[in-house]
Point group: C2
Chain length 235, copies 2
DNA sequence: TAGTGGTCTAGACCACATA
DNA sequence: ATGTGGTCTAGACCACTAT
């Protein structure tokens, strides 16, 4: 029965704009002649299909996942993907520091144990809602005066490309989807352990003999983004 | 409250073997002094973390996702990944035919409209449970007498490698996670639209000038597999 | 101070798998 | 036939967000 209700709502939702508010659960239940729990089950089904977002105290809203394609050729532009979906991206740098990176980062960046890297944390917003964050490790030798050049909203790729002329290319990447680890769930203010997408990626400088420039670990809400890996092995 | 229950159970489950059966909901509810719905909510939480699998009429069982890594170097061996997790893989070929492929397949395989390819459908099992299936399109010119050589359980990669000596390498791949389309849900006997992983991949023959050999579209249950893409761009 | 979704109760019946 | 998870009811209170 809740599946029938869900199908009905799904069909109606298909024509609605993102952000439209659905009727509250009790109204929906009365309208359809079912109990509130049944109406809830239907809405949960829609939520599992990423067709709605639910916010306690606020309401149920029509939603669509945002396509984020990871490929060889396209620059890894998160902001462009969000804009492409007709939404408004924002990036805020939350912290800066010069620090020794952990071993895995050292290995991936091919640097020795004495080197320090620039650690940058950035939060990602879509339409003013926090939907992800990223921790980056950057090589300060390749990026003199970075704090001055990286404004809060710019894409890292654009800065490496246009300001430093490093011809940034993707050197390595990893993608997996997992239940949100506690610290990630806390940072994104999620309850429980909803699925999140972990993207690890390294950018190399083609203009400097493919020397690694930066390594980023980013976390994105899996209900907001549809990450699509599309990769040609032989260009 | 159900989150507390879930944490308690999660801690106990951590030490248990895959496949162990948990107490039924009503027993659990009585033991913990909560209503059955609360016990259910806790079990649903564990299910969303992939720690248990629930089967109507049968019970709730301890589970772990199976790691399936897609990388440049490793051959794309699904069976090896399953065995590596201490589980038993099986593949069953369900259909065979010579047919004209759809446009997207033609484009990816770089063949003209007149060519026919071998279409093979295979079901994938883990411990005798259906967990995915794959539709492959193979080039019969590169694979003479294939129907005789491909036994029901062999990995396609192994056959291309050992029997035909084609030096198979991954030519292209795409990965995304989506709510199961109706026909996929039906095939895998899933209710609703639970998330499934779609993997599209093309194998090329390094021994034949990297000519495309086969294109496979496979669907895997996202609650059973943890697909991990780990890709070096510059080998 | 509403109004929203989130949780919980007790009880009932159903669908499905297994023996 | 039994036992399991799946669904549904009616009603209550709570947590959170917005006004």
């Amino acid at each position: 029965m809740y599946l029938v209700v869900a199908e009905t709502l799904a069909a109606q939702i298909a024509d609605m704009h993102v952000g439209t508010r659905l009727p509250p659960e009790d109204k929906l239940a009365r309208q359809l002649g079912v109990s509130r729990l049944t109406a809830r089950a239907a809405l949960a089904e829609l939520e599992s299909r990423y067709l709605v977002l639910r916010r306690q105290g606020s309401g149920t809203f029509v939603s669509r996942r945002i396509d984020y394609t990871i490929s060889r050729d396209n620059p890894p532009s998160w902001s462009a993907s969000v804009r492409n979906a007709g939404r408004t991206p924002a990036i805020r740098t939350t912290s800066w520091r010069l620090d020794k990176p952990p071993v895995e980062v050292r290995r991936r960046m091919r640097i020795d144990a004495r080197r320090q890297l620039l650690a940058v944390s950035r939060d990602r917003y879509v339409d003013d809602e926090l939907v992800g964050f990223a921790d980056s490790w950057l090589d300060p030798e390749l990026l003199p005066d970075l704090p001055q050049t990286l404004d809060t909203t710019a894409s890292l790729h654009d800065v490496l490309d246009r300001h430093y002329r490093l011809e940034p290319v993707r050197g390595w990447f990893g993608v997996a989807i997992d239940p949100a680890p506690p610290e990630v769930a806390r940072h994104l203010r999620l309850h429980g352990h909803p699925p999140v997408i972990a993207i690890r990626s390294r950018t190399d400088a083609a203009a400097r003999g493919h020397r690694p420039v930066e390594l980023t670990i980013s976390w994105l809400r899996a209900d907001i983004f549809r990450v699509d890996v599309d990769f040609d092995t032989n260009p």
